[in-house]
């Protein structure tokens, strides 16, 4: 009797484990896609920021101007991240 039950339990455990693994895999691949797409967007935006600064720079910039630029880039990305997370929350 016991020998007949064990394989079913084992099989159920295997199915459970496989389901968890599958869900975890889907979750992490979803995360990976989101993170990598955001990274690509951010990289291209940083490149645009740098190009725009280069385009407007005629002389060597002073420290204050450079700080303004980095501050702006940082706030832009923080705002963008907040906006994106709000959007994801709203869309569920």
């Amino acid at each position: 009797m016991a020998t007949a039950v064990l394989p079913i339990k084992k099989r159920l455990n295997t199915i459970k484990r496989s389901t968890y693994v599958c869900l975890l895999f889907n979750f992490f691949s979803f995360l990976l896609v989101i993170v990598s797409s955001h990274l690509l967007t951010y990289v291209s935006l940083i490149r645009e920021f740098r190009e725009a600064l280069k385009s407007r720079t005629m002389r060597r910039l002073d420290r204050g101007t450079r700080l303004n630029f980095y501050e702006r880039v940082l706030t832009f990305f923080l705002e963008k991240s907040m906006h994106t997370s709000k959007w994801i929350k709203e869309k569920g």
Binding site: F49, R56, T57, T75, F76
Partner: protein
């Protein structure tokens, strides 16, 4: 390109319009061929020369498609004065020029405001003001009307016609092409030039419109707005 020429660059997404403008502004460099500005070869080496860089960046200016990336100064006034301060102008002249151009673009009430809190259309106008205040010789505009309402678009067209600068404008808006320029360059896939000539000549050539992806073969009118 000749002095005073107004060129409109048309093409589907990914055809290389923005890349072309960045090459003309010395931000990217072509893998083949060369770019001569007033007879001088433009490359990374020539732009490392402070004198040439100063002259080139003052004379050839680019309006980016996304105005957000161009603004980083604490106030609208500082943003407009940024280029002028680099040119070493006196603060009195800077103020006079800033006030004049702010008036032209309706930005006078916002001079003490933070630039990135303005609306998208106002940001676009501010960026344009920051460039025109330098009194450039060549104006490169990457889809300048994409964030503007009809009134501001009209203002931009009036300013461009009045200033009579050498301009290269990329646009998606076919209906504005005759007003924006007198020469049309159409880019196809992979950045290939499929038309270079008069504006009227292109719009009456059905085959070219279809080839450029600006008209479907089953339609009898081009897509006036590609967005």
């Amino acid at each position: 390109m000749d002095k005073g020429e107004r060129v409109v660059v048309l093409g589907i997404n990914g055809s290389g319009k923005s890349t072309l403008l960045k090459i003309l502004n010395g931000l990217l460099f072509p893998e083949r061929g060369e770019y001569l500005y007033k007879g001088e070869r433009l490359n990374e080496k020539s732009l490392r020369d402070p004198k040439f860089n100063l002259r080139f960046r003052k004379e050839v200016v680019l309006l980016f498609q996304n105005p957000e990336v161009m603004l980083f100064n604490p106030t609208v006034y500082d943003e407009m004065a940024f280029g002028l301060r680099q040119l070493g102008l006196k603060e009195r002249e800077i103020k006079e020029r800033v006030l004049r151009w702010a008036e032209v673009f309706g930005l006078s009430p916002y001079l003490e405001k933070i630039p990135y809190n303005l609306s998208r259309g106002q940001k676009q106008k501010l960026c344009l003001a920051c460039l025109l205040i330098l009194e450039p010789e060549v104006l490169l505009l990457d889809e300048p009307t994409s964030n503007l309402d009809p009134k501001s678009t009209g203002l931009l067209i009036d300013i461009l016609q009045e200033l009579n600068l050498t301009t290269v404008i990329s646009t998606h808006n076919l209906s504005l092409v005759p007003e924006l320029g007198n020469r049309l360059v159409v880019l196809g896939e992979g950045g290939r030039i499929i038309y270079d000539g008069s504006v009227d000549g292109f719009f009456s050539d059905r085959e070219k419109l279809i080839e450029a992806g600006l008209m479907h073969k089953h339609r009898d009118k081009p897509y006036y707005h590609l967005h």
